[in-house]
Amino acid sequence: MDSSESQQIVSRRSFLKRSAAMAVALTSTAGRVASGAEGGQSAAGTKTGPSRKTKVIDCHAHLRHRSRATWEADDRKLIEAADKLEIDQLCCSILTPRRPATADGFRECNQWVADGMRRFAGRVLGYCYVNPGYAREALEESRRCVEERGFIGVKLYNEYTCTEPVVFPIVELAIELRVPILHHAGHSHYVMEDQPRISDSGHIAELARRYPEAMLICAHVSGGGDWEWTIKALRNAPSVFLDTSGSATDEGVVEMAARVLGVDRLVFGCDTSMTASVGRIRAAELSAGDREKILGGNMEKLLRRRKS
């Protein structure tokens, strides 16, 4: 997509217009609109719901790796999906198709994210993805992306369990730059042979005890296996945030997370499971104020901590 197209996307949908409809899409208890409403107009067609004060921020999104022929159309579809669901901003990374990522591989991904931030200005925020195993390159890339390219944080995947010392310099840099780290995570009751070094929320809690000033986000509670385990393991790690994204639509996950961790520690995300992720927040038994915190208020606060 060229820049003029992206400008059209942004300009034809003013933030204020999106905002007015947003609260309804995500707070409606009816969960639907009058019959006959077409896609994209559903939120505006509903007549109940409080007005929204904060942006809706998807804390866990991905642009498409360009090895896929349809990457450009896929990126466009992601933004269109966000439009329909009235999501204001998406915090995106691109991962290498094969991992562990090489230094060239993650640098290329980050270059494409930077390009996505230009193509979808104001909509796409960037996470810098690195493999901590490339110690010098990962640190240089993280600093460059945050300080020179305006990335909002660091994305770590499963190359290393987050309690391995090789990860610590990245955490220390993120602390220095005052940016969050979104950490891939999952806990299943079987050996994940394809992800031998995956972190779980217990590992992230342990990392947080070592670095209580770090802004750690534990990824996709609804796509990381036993979510009850994940939530309970974070109870005593008050500095860790939990991303609500994922494809599993299990009833009760948001309520349990809110009860055990408190709503101030929850951040809304989709991880490309769009209707599942928006639907679970819409469904959860929360006050309007708490819902706003999860949908964007908490993430906005996190992003404001950044070193200027």
């Binding site: 208890t29 009816a30 969960g31 639907r32 609109v33 019959s35 006959g36 409403a37 077409e38 896609g39 994209g40 559903s42 939120a43 896929d74 579809k77 992601l78 269109e80 999906a81 329909k84 669901l85 999952g186 299943s188 009751h189 079987y190 796509g223 990381g224 296996g225 036993d226 979510w227 009850e228 494809s247 599993a248 639509t249 299990d250 009833e251 009760g252 490309t272 769009m274 209707t275 599942a276 928006v278 639907g279 679970r280 819409r282 469904a283 959860a284």
Partner: protein, 258 residues
């Protein structure tokens, strides 16, 4: 009007469910403006004698037959299944079945299963088949129950052309004969949308193009799942108002002969 073809009552062995009594499920349905729901026993998935779960559901829905439509969980490898089927249909008024071959340790191609499906067809009962109960990444350390394969279901559909099937909790149909326009399968099955995408890949849209809107049904998986994701799919789906109405309830009313 909204009809949810994928709902449950009772306890599940590995996770606490809320909204799992008739009263609490109806309250949830009221909140979400869902008029009717097809329900079966969550407990019968792991009971050895599934009929005990059917009895529990029958007792729960007795005073709510205007809104809760009970289906029976029958294990065709368990003693007395023909008696259970007769009781569920004739005494409990159950309009269909839910089959759990992976949980109950049989194959959809086994003779007993074919006998059960054909017996249900003779009674005019719909046979619904959940491809999974919960996300496999969440499974307990006690069990390792794989998802049903779409190929296995395609084989059953072909083998029982007189039966009518509703496929639940599935995904990836467009890459299988079940979701292709040019397949040689009979059109005796419908697909429920709870796990299908309405955005990005938009599998629902692809299935509408391949099979027609008449073959898709709204289902949520409640109370295992929040109902809102499925309802939201219909909100954002690029489809005509009439096609959305078909998916929202009209197709279900036809399949269930309401």
């Amino acid at each position: 009007m909204i009809i949810d073809v994928n709902a449950y009552l009772g306890h599940f062995a590995f996770r606490q469910l809320r909204h799992n009594t008739a009263a609490s499920l109806l309250a949830l349905m009221d909140a979400k403006k869902i008029d009717k729901a097809v329900v079966s026993s969550a407990a019968a998935i792991t009971y050895r004698n599934a009929q005990a779960g059917n009895e529990e559901v029958a007792a729960e829905v007795k005073r709510h037959s205007d809104r809760l439509i009970p289906f029976a969980v029958i294990n065709p490898f368990y003693a007395g299944w023909r008696d259970d089927l007769k009781i569920c249909h004739e005494e409990f008024g159950m309009r269909g079945l839910r089959l759990y071959p992976k949980w109950h340790n049989y194959s959809l191609s086994d003779r007993c299963c074919l006998d059960l499906v054909n017996a249900a067809a003779e009674r005019g009962m719909v046979v619904s088949i959940p491809l999974r109960v919960e996300d496999k990444r969440e499974r307990s350390w006690l069990v390792d129950v794989p998802d049903l394969l779409l190929e296995e279901i395609a084989g059953l559909i072909k083998a029982c052309p007189k039966a009518r099937f509703i496929l639940l909790n599935g995904i990836g149909y467009v890459n299988s004969p079940l979701g292709r326009k040019d397949s040689d399968l009979p059109s005796n099955y419908a697909i429920e949308i709870s796990r299908l995408s309405a955005l990005l890949e938009n599998e629902i849209g692809q299935l509408m193009a391949n099979l027609g809107a008449d073959r898709l049904l709204l289902g949520s998986g409640m109370p295992f799942s929040y109902p809102d994701p499925a309802l939201l799919k219909l909100d954002v789906l690029e489809a005509s108002a009439s096609d959305k109405e078909k998916i929202r309830w009209q197709n279900a009313a036809k399949w269930l002969r309401l």
